[in-house]
């Protein structure tokens, strides 16, 4: 009992001392005796604290490093998943951008050439290794017909060779059985372009003395009633073979179109070039028949006499129409398309 009382007395004294210390500390402020005592204790313990800190720092750093390593691993895993997700999204965006660029190019060429076209998507490649054809998703239902040219944003792709109601098959310009009239975009030298499969296409020039250089551009030609609209880009001259006085040089042409990456194409609703109407029948051509025939031989004079007056010769049907030999009244051969 006495001991318990001693404890209570001690506790009461300690509480009173604590309250007194708090009071002294408050009243002393920053310059009080207890504040100086606190500074002294700190100064005494500071070297010990520094020594302990120096001693345990490697271990604490080790512990921190371990925790950081675990955190970094978790962060790394999270970032890897994020990168994979973003990479997948980037690929999707890249594919959309490529498709968008293709569509823009197709729209651009359709606007620029003012051709009547139908857009199509390449849905299949040739099943054989010896033919270069693709299948597109438009057919007779969309007005597609055999022989129609097919182009894309880069240039000539080929022509339609088979039509079904919902799909068509296109013979690519690089197929060995493909042939088209072509000309040099620079000097207009014309020739026949043939496909060569995986090798560059070959342009057989009509003029043996034609002078083509590597890098010249080759476009389609309407020469001799070619089936393609004139001016569709085909490719660039890659090499010019040996020619001669009678032997036309063989020109190798690298196509503009990447035939391994055909996705979207345009089918041109045009199969060739319309016949050029007779000059005399043209509405926008100012043509006035001369009063006398330019021929000076006697037969011509007789013809003039036989035809009679100027009024008679002004009849276009009689004067300007082609005769049975294909020559017009001027004696010149009728231009052929």
């Amino acid at each position: 009992m006495f001991q318990r009382r001693r404890v209570r007395i001690l506790l009461a004294l300690l509480v009173a001392a604590a309250i007194a210390l708090v009071t002294i500390d408050f009243r002393g402020g920053d310059e009080g005796i207890l504040d100086r005592a606190r500074g002294g204790v700190t100064a005494v313990f500071r070297p010990v604290q520094d020594g302990v800190v120096t001693l345990v720092r490697p271990f604490s750093n080790l512990g921190r490093s371990v925790s950081e390593l675990l955190a970094i691993r978790a962060e790394n895993e999270r970032l890897r998943e994020r990168v994979a997700e973003l990479e997948e999204r980037r690929r999707a965006v890249s594919d959309l951008e490529r498709e968008n660029a293709e569509f823009r190019t197709l729209l651009d060429i359709a606007d620029r050439t003012e051709l009547d076209v139908a857009a199509a998507r390449v849905v299949a490649l040739a099943p054989s290794n010896f033919e270069w054809t693709v299948t597109i998703d438009v057919g007779a239902d969309e007005g597609i017909e055999r022989g129609m040219p097919v182009i894309d944003g880069d240039g000539l792709v080929g022509r339609v060779i088979q039509v079904t109601p919902g799909a068509s098959r296109v013979l690519l310009a690089i197929d060995p059985s493909f042939s088209a009239a072509a000309r040099s975009a620079g000097d207009g030298e014309v020739g026949i372009l043939d496909g060569r499969g995986g090798d560059p296409m070959v342009l057989r020039l009509l003029d043996p003395l034609a002078d083509l250089a590597v890098g010249d551009q080759v476009v389609t030609s309407s020469y001799q009633g070619g089936v393609f609209p004139a001016g569709i880009p085909i490719g660039t001259v890659a090499a010019v073979g040996e020619g001669g006085s009678a032997l036309a040089p063989e020109v190798q042409v690298n196509p503009f179109v990447d035939f391994t990456r055909l996705h979207h194409v345009l089918v041109v609703f045009s199969t060739g070039v319309d016949d050029i109407p007779p000059f005399e029948g043209s509405d926008d051509l100012e043509f006035e028949r001369p009063p006398v025939s330019p021929r000076l031989d006697d037969d011509a004079d007789d013809d003039v006499d036989d035809e009679g007056s100027d009024e008679e010769t002004s009849d276009g049907e009689d004067a300007g129409g082609p005769d049975a030999t294909g020559a017009n009244a001027l004696g010149a051969p009728r231009p052929r398309p």
């Binding site: 318990r4 001693r6 404890v7 506790l11 300690l14 509480v15 210390l21 606190r38 313990f45 604290q49």
Partner: protein, 164 residues
């Protein structure tokens, strides 16, 4: 020797455990030593060790008014010592729970009284978090503290130890 144990506890609390903080809180080793001493040696030893530990903490560990630690830790030491007869002698968990309760109560009391005495008072949420974290941390360290205190007390018995 007990004074050396308290000084060591204060140095470790200020130099080592800041880098081993649990949820941002470090253990209150001075409170832990006081609770262990009180559990082992009774209220008189608890109050005396608690007053020394509180004063050391006031001067070295905290920036709270000097005397606050003396008040809190010495009272807690006496209370823990008084509760010692009510613990089952063979129980292992009872001393640990007592240390945990003393740590929670001491930290909360320090926070509340400190908040009443200074302008920059901590929020109630922070006081609760600190009390729980310190209680947990001290409980984890209490087996080691019991071992050290037992060896020191056996080698250098405290005057007044065993007072009920």
């Amino acid at each position: 020797m007990m004074a050396l144990l308290l000084v060591t506890a204060a140095v470790l609390e200020t130099a080592l455990f800041p880098s081993l903080a649990l949820f941002g809180f470090r253990p209150d080793l001075l409170l832990l030593v006081t609770a262990v001493v009180a559990t082992r040696d009774g209220p008189m030893a608890g109050a005396r060790v608690g007053s020394a530990a509180g004063l050391l903490g006031d001067l070295l560990v905290t920036s709270a008014p000097v005397g606050l630690g003396v008040l809190v830790v010495s009272v807690l030491g006496a209370l823990v010592g008084w509760s010692r007869p009510y613990l089952a002698p063979s129980s292992v968990t009872a001393p640990l729970l007592l240390v945990a309760a003393a740590s929670v109560a001491g930290t909360a009391a320090h926070g509340i009284l400190g908040g009443l005495l200074v302008d920059d008072r901590p929020g109630a949420e922070l006081v609760v978090q600190a009390a729980i974290a310190v209680g947990l941390y001290n409980t984890l360290l209490s087996p080691l503290a019991y071992t050290l205190v037992r060896r020191v007390s056996d080698a250098f018995p405290l005057r007044g130890a065993g007072f009920q």
